[in-house]
Amino acid sequence: MKSIADIKAIRDKMQAQIVNRDNKDAELETRIVVGMATCGIAAGARPVFNELVDQVTSRGLTNVKVTRSGCLGMCKLEPIVEVFVPGEEKVTYVKVDAQKAKDIIARHIVGGQVCTDYLIGEE
């Protein structure tokens, strides 16, 4: 069974990666924000958040941060995911589920193409 002591190996691996990174990386960080208020949680934001994190980990994506926010005021469109790629306009995805989260990582974050079928107005 895994224990907290096992974290040491992961930490050592990650520290080596951090040393190799350029200091400018912080400005180049892509942020993926999941609405995690009562409305978002009830609509399925938690599995979406976890799928995004698992995809970032399994694809070994560096400089991608998955984070949470409160209610964005459009409760009926939850789960809502906002993507901030440096130098590009914010993209807001609505009614996201785990499969769409997988697609957002593959097509938008990795492939650089906005998933236009998951945007507001297309739902």
Binding site: M1, K2, M14, I41, A42
Partner: protein, 180 residues
């Protein structure tokens, strides 16, 4: 909400918004009663606000007029033959306690506690999760994890994924085949 673990996530988000630096989540299944306690050292509430907090038309928000999280948890507990209490002191923190009769037909499942626990990981907030089924207990303290991690943020995707599998394994072992 479909799971008690989703209610826990929602209430813990309240603690984080209330500027808590330590949040304790105690989940105990014993003698046919499932009890969930969420205790924080956040900014707390005054008596007047506390008296209205289970009313869905009470919120601290200015952008909308409803606050559903606490009333929904209260309803879920009472529907399952349990009880709901909330105590709070301004400047000291808040404690939310909800109990559920385990074999009540209207009790929702406990759900994925591991996923909830990793979703709220936060470099600025410490969490202690205590998970007990009958006489078996598992404790997860993020302060111990942070000590091991040094300057690596606890919410890094690699760490979140690792901690989810750690928590899942330990919780399954504590459950001992019982499906809560």
């Amino acid at each position: 909400m479909r799971e008690i673990a989703l209610h826990i996530l929602d209430i813990v988000e309240n603690s984080v918004k209330a500027k808590a630096t330590l949040v304790e989540v105690i989940i105990e299944a014993k003698n046919n009663l499932l009890t969930v306690t969420i205790r924080d050292n956040g900014k707390g509430m005054d008596k007047e606000f506390l008296a209205r907090v289970t009313d869905p038309f009470t919120t601290t928000r200015t952008t909308r007029k409803v606050g559903m999280g606490i009333p929904l948890l209260k309803q879920a507990a009472e529907t399952a033959g349990g009880e709901f209490t909330i105590t709070s002191e301004l400047g000291k923190g808040t404690e939310v306690k909800a109990s559920f009769v385990i074999d009540n037909i209207d009790r929702m499942p406990l759900g994925n506690v591991a996923e909830t626990a990793v979703t709220v990981l936060n470099p600025e907030v410490d969490f202690v999760w205590v998970y007990t089924v009958e006489d078996r207990t598992f404790t997860f303290d993020t302060r111990e994890v942070k000590e091991e991690l040094g300057d690596i943020p606890i919410d890094s995707p690699e760490i979140v994924t690792f901690l989810k599998s750690l928590l899942t394994e330990n919780i399954e072992s504590i459950n001992g085949g019982i499906n809560l």
